[in-house]
């Protein structure tokens, strides 16, 4: 239960907002970090912490592509194929990536490492094709760069030393929030 495990952290997040319910997105991130995805029970937990109806949390999970309602792989490759990216070959890039990993969008590789999702504009249209993984942008992509990315992530997974921590990333946002 995140309420107990992260009591202090949650208290701090809630304190940042004038109204408790505004803390819903950071808490959903926290729940997703904990459980790997925003499962039904995770959404219910968040709702009960913030006195919301679970339906309200579900609605947010459905609206934002950054929340996963189904289990995902260790690395989620969110490839933008919105209009601007599509004009710079995003659809072809998605096809290539899928073929390479032998999955279709929304699917996860058998080794549980990668999930591919297509998403709406992430605001990096000028550097398309692009994707987001673990809250970092990978831009101006092509097959070669994609291979390199996969290689790096695989190595990381084997070594068990992630080069990147969602928690840190979130903490950096928190500072920005306060400023």
């Amino acid at each position: 239960m995140i309420a107990e495990k992260y009591a202090k952290e949650i208290e701090g997040i809630i304190a940042r907002y004038p109204s408790k319910k505004s803390a819903v997105l950071p808490l959903m991130h926290l729940a997703q970090r904990e459980y790997g995805y925003t499962s039904e029970s995770a959404m219910k937990e968040v709702a009960s912490i913030l006195d919301l109806d679970p339906t309200q949390v579900l609605s947010l999970a459905g609206f934002y592509t950054m929340f996963y309602e189904e289990p995902v792989g260790k690395y989620v490759l969110e490839i933008c194929n919105d209009l601007a990216c599509a004009l710079r070959g995003a659809d072809e890039f998605v096809d290539m990536a899928c073929k390479k990993l032998d999955i279709t969008p929304e699917e996860t590789t058998d080794d549980g490492l990668f999930t591919i999702k297509t998403v709406m504009c992430l605001g990096a249209c000028d550097r398309a094709p692009m994707l987001q993984c673990n809250m970092s942008f990978e831009e101006n992509l092509n097959e070669e760069k994609f291979d390199a990315l996969l290689g790096r992530l695989r190595a990381e997974a084997t070594a068990g030393t992630p080069s990147f921590s969602v928690a840190e990333k979130m903490a950096s946002y928190a500072v920005k929030d306060g400023a």
Partner: protein
């Protein structure tokens, strides 16, 4: 007046209050602008674009600020470049609106074409077909031919159960969010939301149980397509096949106006059956809404278990007999009895009560009359300082105050909860005093949680603080200050956790609060001020008014001799001092007031069903249900409202008043009455508060806003316009003369040692009528007993407990929680337990 704005719509000049939306202004002069997402009771969102019109404003010279004129001297109007959504646009002085230009017509056609891109067009099997805004608008403005490929239509789930009461057809949803906004803004049950985006947007619920709200049925009325349907009506009938009958809900003291839709069916032998119940507009009572209990409880009317013939006990068996035989036997038996008493339920009509008291007082010369499940007193106080005639809770807002004591309105009188909450949303101060927190607490300006044993004392303290200007800083001081300085003040009182005697003191204490005269006028005798009792049943008020009381005659005149009250009757039946008991629409054995018929020499029961009391009776009269007859109910705001027959009577049943008057004729109470309207006329002579009312005046209507019920069906939803009567409120004494402060008795505390049992109401609590509702069955309240951890040392959550009071024994599931105070136990899911009973608990071994 500066608060009015004058504009012209399609050549019609009109003045409307500042802030009015253009679409509403147009509707007010009979110009229908098509809408989907807009609803007059919801905040505008401008989501669907159906209401686009041309809107122009007078031009002004930039330099001088003077209005610019055309050559003919008329003001120059600037229509801007595009069309505007009239549901969001606010009226402006001199505004000119065109709703019927080519540009408008064209865009309507285009928008409807878009709406139909993914709409399944399964009108022939859709419940909404025939009263569907989308269907109607396409017929009026649609392009009849689409440029979109049929094969590209989005396919989706068509039978999604949102909980047990409501079904969703995802293909039909046009994403207007009326249902979501109703749940958020009106009902405050945020259990419906959108999920996903764009074309994949869909309605979801994740509450437990799904769509957990007492208001869910209303979303099916305002959904502009057939996406939301009730489990009750789904695939039940086509709208045009049904006959509407005006009615009044018989399920609580609010008295919501409703329309019963019936259809003749082969399976009922060609007789009309109830297909659904819809709200009927009465802005002073229920606006456009009904709670789900009122909407879905009707199944009992058509139950095969209904009593259909008079019965008498012969050789120990109850056998069917003729009306004459049963009536003659009853008349003889009652006249021969050494003592008689009458006990009535609290949802009979005024006409029934009047004939009952006439039978007893005039025919049988007995004043032994009372209601069953007598839980709350103070009707005499209400007659003095009740909320004034002409009041409308919708008018309360900033500067006004509402006090709610010892009642959980959400469970007991849902529509009042809704209207009180909305008044608080509009800025009215809300003070809640109860032994535990309720759904209303979170909306309260001052939420004062008092130990249930101390509620009356707390209120008395509040009253004394209000009387003198204190500079105290306590919560109670602040609440007193808020209440006494309010422009308008309405006080609700209930009976949660209180004995009958305590409710009487509470009513007086609140009356004294309302009567305090500080700088302004007292809070009685004028509109939107006064006392409202949260009666437990639909016509408790009528029982008071008609003298179903051992000490009060109709008109609240004191009887010369006080008769037996219900408690005395039960004791008399047990020890043999009462010979004959006549029970109308009540089940004292089933409700636990009597263990059995005791030593009664004669027990007569007038009922719909073979209740536990009826089973032991000597004579049974089958009564007609509320849907089979006409009559009047008087709600807790003393509004006398008329209901009309919707279906034919079950078997040989007769209306209660008729049975009582035919019996009365046999015992010398005067000639039997033949028509309900004439019974009403007689009762207005005895109950002088009803003077001047008759069936015609109760059937009168006046224009209401918002306008609903027109052919369009898209503006206010499927609620029926009121054409059958808004009813009339009778005037409390304080409206014509000064009322003095009430003498308070010394504080009564009937509290004994042990756990104080508080019977908390649940809307869906088992009872003779609601038990027959197939739709509500899965939602019926579980019987639970909540106790504080301090008191629960021997019990755990989920234990099965036997709860015993002096009167009844029930099995309840334990809930251990510090929501309840130490020393109290909150029992839910059981009706009419005595407020101050002491609970004795024992655990049932598994």
């Amino acid at each position: 007046m500066s608060d009015l704005v004058t504009l012209t719509i399609d050549g019609t000049e009109l003045s409307v209050p500042k802030g009015t939306r253009v679409a509403d202004a147009a509707k007010s002069v009979g110009i229908d602008i098509p809408v989907f997402c807009h609803h007059p009771k919801l905040e505008p969102v401008g989501a669907c674009r159906m209401c686009l019109v041309e809107i122009g404003m007078p031009m002004r010279d930039r330099a001088t600020g003077e209005p610019m004129l055309n050559e003919d001297g008329s003001p120059k109007i600037n229509f801007g470049r595009g069309l505007q959504t009239s549901c969001t646009a606010v009226v402006g002085e001199g505004m000119v609106v065109h709703t019927d230009t080519e540009a408008v017509t064209d865009v309507r056609g285009t928008l409807l074409e878009f709406q139909l891109v993914n709409h399944p067009l399964d009108c022939p099997i859709c419940d909404k077909g025939g009263e569907c805004p989308l269907q109607n608008l396409v017929m009026d403005h649609g392009k009849m031919e689409s440029r979109v490929y049929f094969e590209d239509k989005r396919r989706s789930d068509k039978h999604v159960s949102l909980g047990d009461l409501i079904f969703l057809d995802r293909e039909r949803c046009i994403q207007c969010a009326r249902c979501i906004r109703f749940q958020d803004e009106v009902a405050d049950d945020r259990v419906l939301q959108f999920h996903n985006r764009g074309v994949n947007l869909e309605i979801v619920t994740m509450s437990d149980p799904g769509f957990d709200s007492y208001w869910s049925g209303n979303t099916t009325d305002i959904c502009p397509v057939g996406a939301l349907t009730t489990a009750d009506f789904r695939f039940g009938a086509r709208p045009w096949e049904m006959t509407p009958s005006a009615s009044i809900c018989s399920q609580c003291a609010v008295g919501c106006n409703m329309t019963v839709n019936t259809r003749r069916e082969a399976r009922s032998g060609g007789k009309p059956v109830i297909k659904r119940i819809l709200p009927r507009q009465n802005e002073a009572v229920n606006e456009l809404w009904l709670c789900d209990k009122g909407r879905f409880t009707h199944d009992y009317v058509a139950s095969p278990e209904r009593l259909t013939s008079p019965m008498m006990r012969k050789d120990g068996e109850l056998v069917a007999v003729s009306w004459d035989e049963a009536l003659n036997a009853a008349a003889e038996g009652l006249q021969a009895a050494s003592s008689v008493a009458g006990l009535a339920g609290q949802r009979l009509s005024n006409e029934d009560y009047f004939m009952l008291q006439k039978l007893f007082r005039k025919g049988l010369k007995s004043g032994n009359l009372d209601v069953n499940n007598r839980q709350i007193g103070g009707g005499d106080v209400v007659a003095q300082v009740g909320i004034a005639a002409g009041s409308d809770l919708q008018q309360l807002g900033k500067g006004d105050a509402i006090l709610v004591v010892a009642s959980d309105l959400h469970e007991e009188a849902p529509l009042w909860w809704l209207r009180v909450k909305q008044a608080a949303d509009r800025g009215a101060a809300l003070v809640v005093i109860n032994g535990r927190s309720t759904r209303l607490s979170s909306h309260a300006t001052h939420n004062l949680q008092a130990d249930s044993g101390d509620i009356v004392a707390t209120v008395r303290q509040l009253v004394s603080m209000a009387k003198v200007e204190t500079d105290g800083t306590g919560a109670l001081d602040a609440a007193a200050e808020t209440l006494i300085t309010a422009n308008n003040l309405v006080a609700f009182y209930g009976y949660e956790g209180l004995s009958y005697e305590e409710t009487e003191s509470l009513a007086k204490a609140l009356a004294n609060l309302l009567l305090i005269q500080m700088d302004g006028e007292p809070h009685v005798g004028r509109m939107n001020n006064g006392l409202i009792p949260v009666w437990p049943y639909a016509n408790t008020q009528g029982a008071w008014d008609m003298g179903i009381h051992p000490a009060l005659l109709p008109s609240y005149k004191a009887a010369k001799m006080t008769g037996m009250d219900a408690v005395a009757m039960f004791a008399g039946a047990a020890d043999g001092s009462l010979d004959a008991l006549y029970v109308v629409g009540a089940d004292p054995i089933g409700d636990g007031w009597m263990a059995d018929r005791g030593k009664l020499g004669l027990l007569i029961v007038q009922e719909l069903f073979m209740t536990k009391t009826a089973v032991t009776a000597d004579i049974i009269f089958p009564a007609q249900s509320w849907a089979e007859r006409d009559g009047t109910f008087t709600n807790g705001e003393r509004r006398v409202q008329r209901y009309y027959p919707a279906i034919r009577p079950a078997g040989d049943s007769r209306p209660d008043w008729q049975i009582l008057s035919q019996l009365g004729e046999r015992v010398g109470a005067g000639k039997a009455e033949t028509v309900t309207s004439l019974v009403f006329r007689s009762l207005t002579k005895a109950a002088r508060q009803y003077k001047g009312m008759d069936y015609r005046s109760l059937g009168q209507v006046e224009a209401q806003w918002p306008v609903v019920g027109g052919d369009d069906r898209y503006y206010g939803g499927n609620a029926f316009a009121n054409t059958a009567g808004l009813g009339k409120q009778w005037a409390a004494v304080a409206e014509s003369k000064a009322v003095k402060q009430f003498e308070m008795d010394d504080a009564v505390s009937s509290r004994e040692d042990g756990l104080l049992l508080i019977n908390a109401a649940s809307l869906y609590t088992a009872g003779t009528l609601i038990d027959k509702s197939a739709v509500l069955a899965p939602r019926m309240a579980k019987i639970t007993l909540t106790i504080n951890p301090v008191d629960a040392t021997a019990y755990e959550d989920g234990d099965t407990l036997m709860v015993r009071t002096d009167r009844v024994t029930v099995q309840a599931t334990a809930v251990v929680s510090d929501d309840v105070m130490v020393g109290t136990a909150v029992l839910r899911g059981v009706k009419a337990m005595n407020g101050t009973a002491v609970a004795r608990l024992s655990k049932i071994k598994e």
